[in-house]
Amino acid sequence: MRVVAVIAINVFRESVRDKVLYNLVLFAVLLMGVSYLLGQLTAGNEIKIIKDLGLAAMSLFGLFIAVFIGIGLVSKEVDRRSIYALLAKPISRQQFITGKYTGLVLTLLVNVTVMTLAFYAVLGAMAWKEGAWFQPHWETPALDPALLKAIAMIFLQLMIVTAVALLFSTFSSPMLAAALTVGLYVVGHFNADLKHFENVVDSKPAVYLARALYYVLPNMAPFDIKAQVVHGAAVPNGVLMLNTAYAALYILALVSAATFIFIRRDFK
């Protein structure tokens, strides 16, 4: 456990010194700022615009961070041969993979926290500017704590994306790993359609294949509760817990698969 923590902290330290990360976080914060300006152009619905754009920015830039840093986690170490000296230290390959993943999740957590603070700051500024007269007309309060539920689900999605990136980076090139990870993320949002494929085609093998893919590919759609939260619709705690359990199991499977591949790999 100590070794995993040491590796994770090193990943975090290296990541926060990477300029790419700063740029991505800066862009996300800027986009939230721009959402404030866009909100000014619409009549009555400004707070909804800000929430929509803010959560979308968090999701999108979180995805960029997870993919671009996630795919480099292992492949960069192997390409640059820094892994040679590291694996000669008293650590196992399993600890290496777990530590790398934990480190990136830690990095993501800090970034999502920064973006959340920026998001609430923009919402707070809006609430302060509009004053008490407008606020009763909004669907939900500006500083709605329910937004944290949506953010937590975004974070879980990013954790899954990171695990996918980690898995691909254990055996493929960074470019291919990035393409595959983004591809799976996109497919994951339409995964539910595969479950009812028999409504679209008659072929039995195609239906079985679609059903198998439904269970194997990540199902991202249930994590997207942005619209419900922004419109003030209730999100049952059961859904949140189910999503969390699904994410935990899926991540465990992905990290285990990454470890399985990595343990057998030759570093030529």
Binding site: R2, E14, A85, L86, A88, P90, I91
Partner: protein
């Protein structure tokens, strides 16, 4: 118990993408290194030196054969606590400083903070980069990275150190410092296993060497034994030798070098026996100062071994132990 032992260590790689075919990088390498020995692993580029080291570090897995370090299988965590490894042309994390990198590695060894600081500080001084301790590694030259690599290999006072081309990228001063460092390790009783194609380093540092060619261990033994093995000619030093006498016997002399007036160092072939020439020169008025056999240098031996074992044809020959 041996510090290092390999038995029929073999490694095949697949080359080619569409139609992969096996390529034998290492073939049946059997060797032992005693504790406290400084062992030079020599061979031309592509001979399989780095492959052997990677197998010993379990960065790659053998196709067949077995390797152990300090009596335990390679890759064992307890073994890793007692060894150090410098990879060839090492590269580390761009955004860490030398001090941070070494502290990171020291913490992987489980040392507490005070001990980490002490070891890092001592080693930074020892390898001569104390002044650059807070510089990010991406700003380091190749030679400086090599020094960082050496420092990280010695963090845990290892019992066995593996150095892959430790002199690579270093200037003459740096090479001398690394040589002294290896000698210091030897004096401390540490087993040093280093690969190199610089034979002068091996000659100066090693008690034993192994020569690898075409993936096979073609010779191994004590440097002195390998060199003593072959006499390649004679060196005759004579005085009062007239130019006429020298000219008269020039066809029997391989090379004549003037040392002083009327004094020459004559290189003679191994056969015929030099005694006949010696007698003739003395009869011509020359004075014999010395007659010594000229032995092979390690370089001569190395070149001969490598030349007689071309990569494609020597896969079935057994390695021979000269000691």
């Amino acid at each position: 118990m041996y510090a290092i032992r390999t038995e029929n260590l073999t490694k095949d790689f697949s080359i080619g993408f569409w139609r992969p075919r096996p390529y034998r990088a290492l073939s049946d390498v059997t060797l032992t290194v005693e504790q406290g020995e400084t062992f030079g692993f020599l061979g031309p580029n592509g001979a399989g030196k780095t492959t052997t080291l990677k197998l010993l570090m379990q960065l790659i897995y053998p196709t067949s054969g077995y390797a152990e370090i300090l009596g335990r299988p390679v890759g064992d965590i307890e073994v890793k606590r007692r060894i150090g490894y410098l990879p060839e042309s090492p590269y580390f994390y761009d955004y860490l400083t030398a001090e941070e990198l070494l502290t990171y590695f020291a913490s992987l060894h489980g040392y507490n903070r005070a001990e980490q600081r002490r070891r890092v500080s001592t080693l930074l001084d020892e390898v001569g980069i104390a002044a650059e301790r807070r510089l990010q590694l991406r700003k380091f030259s190749k030679g400086m990275l090599q020094r960082v690599g050496i420092a990280q290999a010695l963090l845990n006072d290892p019992e066995v150190v593996f150095l892959d081309e430790p002199m690579s990228g270093l200037d003459p001063l740096g090479r001398r410092e690394v040589r002294n460092l290896i000698l210091k390790l030897r004096d401390r009783g540490c087993t040093v296993f280093f690969s190199s194609h610089v034979l002068a380093d091996a000659e100066a540092l090693c008690s034993r060497v192994g020569i690898l060619a075409g993936g096979r261990l073609v010779a191994s033994g004590r440097v002195a034994d390998l060199q003593a093995f072959q006499v390649r000619g004679w060196e005759l030093v004579v005085g009062s030798l007239s130019t006429d006498t020298l000219a008269q016997h020039r066809h029997r002399i391989q090379r004549a070098t003037t040392i002083a007036r009327d004094q020459y160092a004559l290189e003679l072939q191994l056969s015929p026996d030099p005694i006949a020439l010696l007698r003739d020169l003395v009869a011509g008025g020359a004075q014999v100062i010395s007659l010594n056999p000229m032995r092979e240098t390690l370089e001569d031996y190395f070149v001969r071994q490598v030349a007689t074992h071309p990569a494609t044809s020597r896969m079935d020959e057994p390695a021979k132990e000269a000691s």
